[in-house]
Symmetry: C2
Subunit: 348 residues, 2 copies
DNA sequence: GCGCCGCTGGCAACCGCATTCCCGCAGCGA
DNA sequence: TCGCTGCGGGAATGCGGTTGCCAGCGGCGC
């Protein structure tokens, strides 16, 4: 055959037809053998098809399959940023769970731009995945969320499932951490260690989950009879740098009064630490610091960071479960979060 | 119409046909308007089509488009792990460049299992992307690489492009850092700071790029007349924990002689630091430490880590360029890497 | 020995979109 | 006014795979 000499030029990919022909069966039969079908095929034929497929190096054209079936075994994950340790840990957890469920996952990154988020969702809709999981914390301000909601609604109407993680602002299936309770417990533990004068760093951007952490912390302090906490709450830009700058621009007097800084994320806690150090403050001797998220890659920070641990795997599992179980309506589910005390808050 | 009352049950997604019908044009015309076609369409019709599409919330079915066109604007990125800061930074860089080039990127994670890697490549082949970029450091040992090579070859034969990052062991387009030169320059700088007695941490798994870092470092020391360096090279497991354990199980006498530990990755350098600290060694006063990769998320480590900076964006750009430019053969390209001295190596 | 049923393979239609080809039409020059 | 050219719309076909349906075959019961 010309097989032997034809090594140049892009050859056409091997199709199911090729396999069928080589195995001497019809194309539907080959399809039934190679791609999970309910119908049985005679063992001898099955064997021939499998062999032919292997010899030819056949791979199912997943696009064609998706078109024909009208659906795919893929779930789409939308996150804010891939190099953010929180999101990458989340993505890893989701992928782990998805693999267990025999699902592919395709990741899309919004880069924290909500226009991009909308664009991505539209594009994803074009892929007709089984489900869309939105793990990015939504930024309410910039663009009309209704457009996004519309888009997601449309997607749901055509049989897709939408799952939100840590984002209770949209009317879809939601899985989130117990931000309020986690922060509250943390506050109580810290109060138990003798801390009394706190500085809280929230998010300048309106983020529901983040505000819950602030509220929970304040609530926890109130539980312990510390009621003046709400005086010292800052809302800098929601980032490492935002936290650092907030600390750096603090009045000297104000800073001197602070015993402990609680930031709503580990990332911001690190920014706060950087800011504190640039002002010559020693941690934890002068000021203690606590964060939220318990990010693994921060294990090497010195002093080790007191924070609130969130069960990513549980959240991921719940999310995948909701993504794959259709019909039922779960509404909102909350996963526990609990404080982890480390060296950055040794107590007074 | 029944439109008004039919709000229950999965409705069929809006297709191009629906749009065409509503706009009162033929389906090809709608196609030409909505998806980039060479042919022009009358402005009035174009308008009608666009409006109809918007009103109906039409989204191109990308799978169908891929089937019809036989190709897609997607590139597939294969990395070892998503929560590894190095890979997530790499992925972020690739996505940035891809977006500039108007490409989608779908990420697949091997979890460092080479069987999974093979499986993924087969699956990816089924998606018929424009290109496959393999950024994971290959693990040569476990499975016959030829199978992977076969698979990639097949993919190339059907018009796809394969690009490898930091992985010079396979016969495809390759972009990598100048590991050797980067490490060599670092060694020379450190020698210039007065360090003389080094401990090197390599990779127990055979990884070409990683070995180059060791070789380059040794070479650099030799440049400075330090020739006995090769005595103190350890090859622990290629991970944070591997490095930590290697340090912890060091003989007391051996440890006492060490002035500086060079690890082939920042990750391992951190493991080494953890190990050193657990043995009561102060950094950098007793022992200095240097790594490789210059991972951004480690900015908060104290003391800040001396390392070798790699230009991720340049690598990503080169990779995308190779992924999109067909016909030409680029073979192997090297991107510079240069040392960055920080607090972890103050000099003797 | 006949009829019925169940099993399994193949035919053909179909999924949603792109593209080729054909044809009508307007515009232009002669 | 006629013919030619060029543009743009539409019918038909194809992409790779799936699935409803029919037909043929073998097994079984009576």
């Amino acid at each position: 055959m010309s097989e032997t000499l034809g090594d140049a030029g892009p050859r056409r990919p091997v199709t199911l037809d090729d396999v069928a022909r080589r195995a001497g069966v019809s194309q539907p039969t080959a399809s039934r053998v190679l791609n999970g079908s309910a119908r049985k095929v005679n063992e001898a034929l099955r064997e021939r098809v499998v062999t032919a497929a292997r010899e030819l190096g056949y791979t199912t054209n997943l696009s064609a399959q998706a078109v024909a079936r009208g659906t795919s075994r893929t779930i789409a994950l939308v996150i804010s940023g891939i190099s953010d340790p929180y999101f990458s840990a989340m993505a890893a957890a989701i992928m782990r769970q998805a693999e267990l469920a025999g699902l592919r996952v395709s990741i899309a990154v919004t880069d924290r731009r909500s226009d991009r988020e909308l664009e991505l969702v539209r594009e994803i809709r074009g892929h007709q995945p089984l489900a869309i999981i939105l793990a990015g914390t939504g930024f309410l301000a910039p663009h009309p969320e209704d457009t996004l909601v519309d888009e997601l609604r449309r997607y749901e109407e055509t049989g897709g499932r939408v799952v939100l993680i840590s984002r209770t602002d949209l009317p879809f299936e939601t899985v989130s951490f117990d931000n309020h309770e986690g922060a509250r417990q943390l506050a109580r533990e810290l109060a138990g260690l003798g801390y009394r004068r706190f500085l809280l760093l929230g998010s300048g951007t309106a983020l529901l989950g983040m505000q819950q952490r602030i509220d929970g912390f304040v609530h926890g302090l109130a539980d312990e009879g510390i009621s003046h906490a709400a005086d010292r709450i800052l809302y800098p830009e929601f980032s490492w740098d935002g936290a650092r700058r907030a600390i750096e621009s603090l009045e000297e007097d104000t800073l001197r009064e602070v015993e402990l800084v609680f930031a709503i994320t580990d990332d911001m806690a690190l920014g706060a630490i950087a800011g504190l150090r640039s002002r010559g403050v020693s941690i934890p001797d002068d000021v203690a610091v606590a964060g939220f998220d318990d990010i693994t890659t921060l294990r090497d920070i010195v002093p080790s960071l007191t924070t609130v641990h969130v069960a990513l795997d549980t959240v991921a599992e719940e999310a995948i479960h909701r993504a794959t179980t259709d019909g039922e309506v779960f509404t909102r589910k909350t996963v526990p979060a609990y404080p982890v005390l480390r060296e950055s808050t040794p107590g007074v």
